[in-house]
């Protein structure tokens, strides 16, 4: 075990959960990032405004965090640019085909015990673990 940070993980997780809860209580919408972004790619609808606003908040979080005096946590992107492009393509396509991602299925769906979200979360967790196992330990990258 290395770099285990249980307290900040729980606090940050609770913030993410609070965000999902508030979007439901205020706007009546599920905080699924891929669904919100995917919805923005469709023609303008009444949903366009809040979706764009949500994503703007998400993107502006680091400068706001730094502005509040927080020191930005370290970010290490190990993947090369071609690998990032391939991974992004798979993540975007897979999230839409599977009706959700880590937030929509993982945080919101598990929170309401949705069988679909349980199946999806179990599947993407297992495949991601296998992917890392193959890349890091079998191919030795």
């Amino acid at each position: 075990m290395d770099g285990f940070t249980p307290v900040s993980a729980l606090v940050g997780g609770a913030m993410i959960g609070t965000s999902a809860a508030l979007l439901l209580l205020l706007n009546g919408r599920v905080a699924g990032i891929s669904g919100i972004l995917g919805g923005l790619l469709a023609p303008l609808t009444r949903e366009t405004g809040w979706r764009a606003a949500f994503l703007a908040g998400l993107v502006l979080a680091p400068p706001v965090y730094a502005g509040m005096g927080g020191s930005l946590p370290p970010v290490t992107v190990e993947a090369s640019f071609p690998l990032l492009a391939l991974a992004g393509l798979l993540v975007g396509f897979g999230a839409r085909l599977g009706s959700g991602c880590t937030s929509g299925h993982g945080v919101c769906g598990l929170g309401r015990l949705s069988p679909r979200s349980l199946a999806a979360t179990g599947t993407f967790m297992a495949v991601a673990v296998l992917t890392v196992l193959v890349i890091r330990h079998l191919l030795g990258a």
């Binding site: 993980a9 972004l37 790619l41 975007g92």
Partner: protein
């Protein structure tokens, strides 16, 4: 306007949560997924905290019935586990495991690691557009219903 303001604040809180939890760092996500390496269980604690609060919020929202700023709750109602759901989740998991990035952290990193995050996000948008070529009958658009009956 109120809906946009609340969505902005809530999106900001989501991003701050990603930063505080450490999940905006792909290396930390990969350290969780790497069970046989130097395993970092932090992501499990992020999920536990997030799901607990989200579950409480869902209970309250369903009990109240009507959201404060909108006419109705829109919660996916499907319960069937179809091949598309599983295939989509598997493709998503493969991409997530390759780079340690999923949609939320990728968007939050646009201002932190712009070149890398923008590469991932552009490809992710391309993947989402590619999905729209999947025949509509086959594409699983989860039907939504008003789900606010106490």
């Amino acid at each position: 306007m109120a809906k946009m303001a609340s969505a902005f604040a809530v999106g900001l809180l989501f991003g701050l949560g990603l930063l505080v939890s450490g999940m905006s760092d792909p290396a930390k996500v990969l350290a969780f997924l790497d069970l046989t390496g130097r395993w970092d269980p932090s992501l499990a604690f992020v999920m536990a905290g997030a799901v607990a609060v989200s579950a409480a919020g869902t209970l309250v929202a369903r009990r109240r019935g009507r959201p404060l700023l909108a006419s109705r709750l829109e919660i996916p109602a499907r319960r069937d586990i179809d091949p598309r759901l599983v295939a989509g989740a598997a493709i998503f998991g493969l991409g997530w495991g390759l780079a340690g990035l999923c949609p939320g952290p990728a968007l939050t990193l646009l201002t932190v690691a712009p070149a890398q995050a923008a590469t991932f996000v552009a490809a992710m948008v391309a993947g989402m557009l590619l999905f729209r070529l999947v025949p509509p009958a086959a594409a699983c658009s989860s039907p939504r219903r008003t789900d606010g009956v106490p």
